[in-house]
Symmetry: D2
Subunit: 356 residues, 4 copies
């Protein structure tokens, strides 16, 4: 029996990716699309300026977009809301008893809110038990920023095997990461912009939390030092990152590559529909990975690594690629929901409501 | 009285940039264009598949391309030859008495060959005196790889002021750096390629030589540790580089920015025609520099720096932009020639020949 | 029982698209991959420089590439060969008894060779009966040039309903149409090239044959006058074409749009796996179609039309988009094979060989 | 003695191009920069988000932007205002006695307002005498839309030599034509948008007026039938147009090419600083013109033509390229001002004011 799903911010770029990825999902069925007042009341086909390269799924086109009010008929909501409104609306939904699985940044660094990558820190979902939304049964779970997720998935096996002392990362981020209308074409065509507002700080903070340890007092941040420099490049989808790492226990490039490529992670054998069978793939062809060729690997959920080599300054370095709107946004949130379901944290709210 | 100039490899991408930049030059006049046998005998207009965004200067179109043989009527030659043939041909010209001012990589790391950036190490031209081409009077001088020059011009003032212990650089390099036909469009449009053959090693080695000290035994390499990761991005002209530096004597980001922005260099007051009045410009607007907007600053000879900030891992970091086919190739070689002239190392060969 | 399929030119751009599209095909299974001597003997994974945005299907990676010799174990071959070698090799395969379903241009305009678009002229396959390859049972069938197919699919319903007197078409063609390495990136990034060798003549000739009538003497060319101007634009996949038509029987833009959008074509109800349920889709949103959004409609097999409006000069005009490497090459050839199978023209050659 | 020039809309994309092109102009000196209330009072350096590839001229950076009020200290104004406000503001300046040389579309089709291309219809400036702005001495002159100007400059010599019966044009227009922020990068990168609002109607109407005849009753529109289809392509600068023409008196492609290439136009010998010595250049290399290579020919003021060939449908066809922000906007307006000066229609307003 599948869960009924609502999407907050359904008409935006992230919301559209939720719609695209949930088409045909074995567990989750979209039953409510919500967006701003401007869109409410219109069929989704008209309300959403569909920007994807794949067509809008047939069945959602005629659904009427609703306002983001807490009367949506669904078991939980995905949130693709803009940060400007996500704080208030997501809080209202949690207070009304909805699980909120959010891509917005607002609650990511809250001590009691899990910042989750299922392959990295699935146990952090225990923070849910520390949340208090007036006894509603609702909660909020978040996924990291699109530039953080690829980095941390590559770092996790190294963290486990060798310990991470310091990370230096330079990103080359795709245009779709800025949403729509996003970057003006005169700033992007044949150009690089060496700045993405707030991104460098987010990468540092979120990495510390994701690699942190769950304790009785919440998350203890990992003690790795992180330095990020973020750039926007003329790529449609897929964030590339040049990562150099100083390990606590030195390792050769070969060892590092082997540990990443063989990383199974805690999801192995769980059968989560959206989980890639291999979380991190390491290329030996030095021309790879490339955004146009590999961003969509395993449906956009696999992280690609290449050019693993010694770094004379920090020890080891490599290139990471991950799909920013799938693994880095909607797909990551969907995998979070699949994890929560496997952990027994999602309920069919009709029953829940009846019980209440 | 201007010098007569020959261009070796005149029909290639670098050769064309020499032709473009020498149009109207106050000191140097093109009197010979030389290229492969395939082009020899044809008017330049037909032999060269002109790829620039500015039209071929009128006067060179009708010049007949010659073979790369040592009978060119000129006082010295610029070489834009491919590395596959540059070693032999440049050696032959030096042996025949020509000063060879080369952009090719072949002789760059030879102990007796100056690898020159006039603003950085003008005195290294003294290595010329150690060269022996059979008493011909000829010599070879080189400029660095297109990805090295921007980096080293930004590093030089820091090297002088604080000492450089380690450098970590990630490049985002323009397509024109690969020449023509160069990168296939299916590899470049909306894509990033995380590999440029040989580039990472070149950046490390050349930086060490450029920042090295001239001693009685030749150049003593600088002891800075260099780590480079090179990427090709869909930009036409202008290499962007994210640079992080560990200084020997720590300095704040503000101090680092001030030292770079106020760097005058040894050319101040010399009036070299191609030298930018300000070698390194530091932007405070965090969106800058950008290749499309700033690569052509000061005719493509100025290096642009931005986003100077603390690096929690290495100390300080910033972004560098330099024009790869001008400052990083033909323009750099022309400035080298202007320096050599100012140093009295160029002669009008007719007299020289008469004298001989 | 599925057919065993060989692919000639399997390592090239078109060959790779055959491999990609045949992955999981319900009727056709790849049993032989053939390419040039240089590739023969290598695993496909090594021989092919895989350029697609989707990964090479697992099962073909280890297949050993063979030479293009007529001992391939398969029931028929798809040919993605370059025109330089296709004439000879395809003829040899036909002579050896293989049906050859070719994307190459060599035989397209031969009087006895069908130039096929299943939705347009399925009956032209009867030309096969006029071919004589020494009684081998082999034959050759071709699909049109990538720029012709979208045009003709849009014209066919108009031809049937109103008659076509003259066609004026301006193309904006994707880079993948030039194969790999194809267009140098310095010619394509932020640029338009107003010339594609031979393309304009091909569009005119092929359109005449495709819309022609099958008579006892072969194909009688359609009498429409065609004028084409072909341009290369910086798009990855999907040829856009601005088409203006002078109809024999005038019609309004609305009538023209309706006739195209409701075109069912002769494949309706046949259940060919690769056939789109709607061959031509007409958009009313004047911003559409666009290559990035719509080229992959119906798996890249649907032709998209938009901006249908009156043309003060020729009568009616519109924009057509079709996927050049799918509908315009490998996908079109696969649909041809599906049609031939439905027409009973493909046999399982083991039996055939036994019978012989 | 040079004229003092004000720029209305100085901070916008067109305004910035005025500033760039007027740097060092021999006749016109910027003395006033005016923009919206939001910019007024700020130094131009801060008020303008400078988007050009060449740096902001030094001297204007510190000028204080003023409001668009009719107290600007200048002899005439260039207007780069948006159409939303240009009607009112330009009218106010004309009424206050300023000559207004506008790039906005608001007054272009007014019967008494000259729509001017100096090489095409310089005599249309006589319409100024029909304008009545309350005896102020002010007037308004306009230049055509960026997509019209290249077309009409190529058509003019054909109109004179053979007469033009019908024109079919398909445009491939650069992103800079949409201003800033303009086209979102997700709509432009690797994409084509087949629609530009209002552009097709503008091209038809403006062409009729530009090629029209000046009579005692104003302009008699040319009787050519025009059909335009406009597309946005991922090019930075330079509109490409595929033009097919039905001439009243048939001519071969060779004759058409010769007439265009040898077109001198009415400016020959007048010495206008911005006028290209050859207004229309015809390429014989079928790969040319291309936006990246040729848009900036003659400082962006020359129109490039190529691929002149027979059109089986309309008679003759060719490709036209013109720089959209220079020839098609600010540069065209500056040339208009130079023409008006040569015609004695500009005065030094200090004297004018004193006289009044």
């Amino acid at each position: 029996m599948s869960f009924r799903v609502g999407i907050l911010g359904a008409t935006g770029a992230v919301g559209q990716t939720f719609v695209e990825l949930l088409d045909g999902h074995p567990l989750f069925e979209i039953t409510a699309l919500a967006a701003s007042e401007r869109s409410a009341g219109k069929p989704y086909r008209e309300a959403a300026n569909w920007i994807g390269g794949i067509e809008m799924p047939e069945n959602v086109g005629d659904m009427i977009v609703q306002a983001c009010e807490t009367n949506l008929k669904c078991d939980f909501v995905f949130s693709g809301l803009d940060a400007g409104v996500a704080g208030e609306i997501e809080g209202a939904f949690a207070r009304a008893g909805y699980p909120v699985i959010s891509n917005a940044r607002n609650y990511r660094m809250e001590p009691d809110v899990p910042l989750l990558i299922p392959e990295v820190n699935p146990g952090h979902s225990a923070l849910i038990d520390r949340q208090d939304w007036g006894g509603s049964g609702g909660f909020i779970v978040t996924n990291p920023n699109c530039s953080t997720v690829g980095l941390v998935m590559a770092l996790k096996p190294l963290h486990d095997a060798f310990g991470i002392d310091a990370v230096h990362v330079v990103t080359m981020q795709a245009l779709s990461g800025a949403g729509y209308p996003g970057v003006p074409s005169l700033d992007s065509l044949a150009n690089v912009v060496p700045h993405i507002g707030g991104e460098e700080a987010k990468m540092a903070a979120e990495t510390g939390k994701l690699l942190g340890a769950l304790t009785d007092d919440g998350i203890e941040m990992a003690d790795a030092t992180i330095s990020a420099q973020c750039n926007r490049v003329p790529v449609l989808d897929g964030h590339m990152e040049c990562v150099s790492v100083r390990l606590k226990k030195p390792a050769t490039a070969e060892e590092v590559a082997r540990v990443m490529d063989s990383f199974e992670g805690p999801l192995a054998g769980m059968g989560l529909p959206t989980a890639p069978s291999q979380p991190v793939r390491v290329f030996t062809d030095e021309r790879f990975p490339q955004p146009r060729r590999h961003a969509r690997a395993a449906g956009g959920m696999q992280v690609s690594v290449g050019k693993v080599q010694d770094c004379p300054v920090l020890g080891v370095k490599f290139v990471v690629l991950s799909h920013n709107t799938i693994r880095g946004a909607a797909g990551g949130a969907i995998l979070n929901a699949e994890l929560l379901n496997a952990q027994g944290r999602l309920v069919h709210r009709t029953e829940a409501v009846v019980a209440a």
